[in-house]
Every structure is written in structure tokens, then in C-alpha cells.
Symmetry: none
Subunit: 253 residues, 2 copies
DNA sequence: TCATAAATGTTCGATTATGTTCAATTATGT
DNA sequence: ACATAATTGAACATAATCGAACATTTATGA
């Protein structure tokens, strides 16, 4: 196994288990503990994980900001199913707001089958993808580019969105909780999402089940702000019940 | 087997297996490991794969999904030489404006060696590239995305640029003429370039020799607006003489 | 606080991968 | 056809990775 692959597997393992010991990884990956320690050191130097005596945890336990490349492969099947369901809510000719993130990228792929859409997004990769594979009008907010996710942040992006009136918006979130609503790791991300919600007629939350029961730093809004929540059927039964008790339309795919 | 075929097979192999060792490819393709290493180097230089000790992995799936324009391969060597010269004019810590286009993308690649730059661009691919490979502050104008070039156009982009004061700007052009100056096929592109020129202290025209003696639809400005013109040494001798007669600094690479 | 077991870091060496250089061969251009 | 350039392979020097042994540090409970 190549070094880079081993390190990717460690990241993936940390994603799934949120922490790992040197011992278990050295057994699993069939290398000496010393090698795992050096890998942990590398991950720490690159701000991916934080070492601790005996093991390591991913940076920020609740909400991880993994670079796009690694992130995009996690739960990709679930994301595709969610995306297909989400895209089916869009009518030809509508104005659609797409939040940044991999789930919304998957939605974008399904939207290529529609006609005459106007798509507004803060995600540069979504903008490039749609502009090269459709003849939709693509609007991008502009502003400062966040380097981990290649999306726009900042007051400029918020101002841009204030001039938009959209038919439907798809909002992603890394942390969803029945009680605390949706939350983000940074105020600027929250500002963007808030404005997206404000300027669209219909609001859909798209998040795979792994994002639930997590709480981030800054609150965006409560779950009842959304007309629909689309997630996958691995969602915890209690959470399903709680959401439906609150009279929120929940779609499981 | 041709070199290009071999490299395509390597890419295909990487797409199927997501990683490959030097060893296995050299056996499979019946060339020495040295050749595979050189191929890997080429793939890395072109942002297709990432080398690691013993092998290589493919870069983010998404990037390769973006259609690779033929345009970017035309005169690529000349563009690289022009870009290297252009990048050498940038000091650490400066505010740099990069116009859209493949020559400016090459400049962006050389700029990764600098420190603490603030880069303003209308080109989404440049923005993604720089944001993922540097820790510069990247500002993007936003607005409507032109689908052929994945760059921003429109009044919104011009307004954004009005708030910028840059140290240096690199302007590309598909048509340069001593008498008519630089011209573009559309008014909106011309507006962007005009504003870029207006809000930067030092203005550099970058265009390979094939762009000269051509006249487009809408005039942007005269050649004497630029502090320097960087092009390649295939430029027609008469044109060289004419430009220098007009007292414009011309750099041939 | 101190003892102790466990984890960690350091150093070294073996192994393996890499880059450099040069020569031979094959394309390419004039 | 000839000169020139590009590609590839071969040989060697260099560099990187990983594991092992041992000294050091840390966590924790008595």
C-alpha cells in the first residue's frame, strides 16, 4: 500500500470512528506503531487531526472541515439518492439556489436534465460544472474564496444574495439537531445560509444521516424553517420520530 | 506504443484502481520504472495526479470531470515561458489581478511559489486552483458565469472590481494590434478588462505571438496603457519594431 | 508525590525509490 | 540527407520510508 493511501485510510477511519488509537491502526494497516505515529504527526502538521496520547482525533470533533477531495467520497451513494430526490422537486424554468458542498454537487448533476434553469450558487466547482455541461444561466456570488471547500464566503456574497429571489433553495449542513436546528463551524458560513433561506420561496434541507445529532458552533436556523428535509434511511429512529412530531416533512431515501 | 498513448493508459489505470505503483505499471506497459516515473512527473506537473513514494494517485475526481479544453494545450510551452516571466514581476505580499484565460492560469501556477499574495480574478478555474494549492486570499468577482470560458462577466463583476486597488494586473487578449490596441469579441469582456486596467498600478499584457496582428470587435485600450508586454520570440519582426518605436517595453521569451 | 507501565521520540540501518547523467535510438525539421 | 531534438534505458549516487532498539516522557493510581 502506498503511503498516501494509508494516510487516506486513516482519515477515513477517523471520519467513521471520530478517533483512533495507534494500536488499532497499526494492527489494521499492518505497519508498526511507529509508522502510525509518523502518520499522525503528518496529519497534525497539516491540521487534519490532533494527536493525543495513544491516538488521534479529527480536528473539531463535531464538525470536520476536510478538504473537498476526501470529503466527496464519503457516503457518496447516500448523497446521490438524496440528490436525485431533491432534484425532482425542481421544475423547468425555475430559479434555484444551491448551497456549497458535495451533496449539492450531486444535485447539480441531476439538474442537468432540466431546462432553462437559473442557478445561483456559492460553490465554484458547482458553477464550473454546470456552466460547462448545461446552458443554464449560472450566477455566482463572488467574494473571498474559502480554501478548504472552494466556496465563497464573506459579506460580499451575502450582499449578492440579497438581490436574489429564488423559487427553491437546497441547503446543506454538516450538523443537524432537532433541538438546536442547523449549525455551522463559522459565522460567515451561517450568514450565507441564513440569507439563502431568506431569499427563497421553498427551502429544502439536504443532509445524509451522518450529519444528524451533531451540533456546530453557530446557529443558522431551526428545522421548521424548511419545507422539507431529505436524508437517507439510516437515520436514527428516535430522531425520525422527533422530527415528525414537530410536524416537519421528512423524506427518507 | 506512443508516449501519449502510454500516458493515457496510465490515467485510465489510475481511474480504475485509483492508485498505481511504479513497479506494476512498468511491468504492465513494458517500459523501465524510470519512464513511468517521468510519466508520473508529467501527470503531476499537469495537475492530473499526485506522486507519492512508490507510486501515484489520481487528483480529485471532480477536477478531471471538468472538460479539458483543447484551447489550453495550444502553444502551452510559449504560454509557460510567458507566464514564468510574468510571475517574476510579482513581489511577495502584493495584490494581483489575473484576467481570465489559459495564459493567466499558467501565471497562477508560477505564483504558488510566492507568499502572502492577494489575488483577484474573474476566472473560476484559477480561483479553484489557487485556493486549493496556496493559502493566498483569493477574491473572485462573482456575477454571471460565461459557459465557454468559466469566467465571470457582467456589470456585477465590473462593480466588484471598482472597489479594488491592485499593485499589478495581468491582462490577456485574443487580439492585439499595434494600431488598434487590444480588442475583444464582446462588450462585456471589454468592460471587465477596462476596469481591471483602471484599478491597478502596474499593467502587464500577456499574449503569445499568435494573438498579434488581429483585430476584434470591441476596443479595450491602446498598447501604451501597458507598462510591459510579454510575448514569445516568434513575434513578427516588423511588429517588434513598431511596438518598440512606440516606446512600449516589450519582453520576448 | 512518587512509582510504574505504557506511549513516545530518537537514532540508526536496511531496504527501496528516486533523480542525474549519459548514451543510444528514434523522430522531426530544414 | 543531414543536423537537430526528443525519448528512452542504464548505471550510479542520492534520498526517502519504515522498522527496531533504546532512552525519554507521560498518564495515572497508590
Amino acid at each position: 500500500m502506498l503511503q498516501i493511501e494509508r494516510r487516506q485510510m486513516i482519515i477515513q477511519y477517523l471520519e467513521e470512528h471520530s478517533s483512533a488509537t495507534v494500536e488499532e491502526l497499526s494492527t489494521k494497516l499492518k505497519v508498526t506503531p511507529m509508522t502510525i505515529r509518523r502518520d499522525f504527526q503528518y496529519l497534525e502538521d497539516n491540521n487534519i487531526a490532533t494527536r493525543t496520547f495513544g491516538g488521534a482525533v479529527l480536528n473539531s470533533k463535531l464538525i470536520t472541515e476536510i478538504p473537498y477531495e476526501n470529503k466527496s467520497l464519503i457516503n457518496i451513494d447516500k448523497k446521490k439518492r438524496i440528490a436525485e430526490q431533491a432534484a425532482s422537486l425542481v421544475q423547468n424554468g425555475q430559479i434555484v439556489i444551491l448551497d456549497a458542498g458535495t451533496t449539492n454537487m450531486e444535485i447539480a448533476k441531476f439538474l442537468t436534465k432540466k431546462q432553462n434553469l437559473i442557478v445561483v450558487t456559492t460553490d465554484l466547482k458547482i458553477a464550473i460544472y454546470l456552466s460547462s455541461s448545461t446552458d443554464f444561466e449560472i450566477l455566482c456570488t463572488g467574494g473571498s474564496v474559502q480554501n478548504t471547500t472552494s466556496s465563497f464566503l464573506g459579506s460580499h456574497a451575502v450582499e449578492f444574495l440579497k438581490n436574489i429571489n429564488a423559487d427553491i433553495s437546497f441547503i446543506g449542513s454538516s450538523s443537524v439537531d432537532v433541538e438546536h436546528g442547523i449549525t455551522t463551524p463559522s459565522p460567515s458560513k451561517a450568514d450565507i445560509k441564513k440569507q439563502m433561506i431568506k431569499c427563497s420561496n421553498k427551502r429544502i434541507l439536504v443532509a445524509d444521516s451522518s450529519k444528524f445529532q451533531k451540533i456546530g458552533f453557530i446557529k443558522v436556523c431551526n428545522l421548521n424553517e424548511f419545507h422539507k428535509i431529505i436524508t437517507d434511511d439510516d437515520l436514527d429512529k428516535n430522531t425520525i420520530k422527533e422530527i415528525r412530531n414537530n410536524n416537519i416533512k421528512l423524506i427518507l431515501v
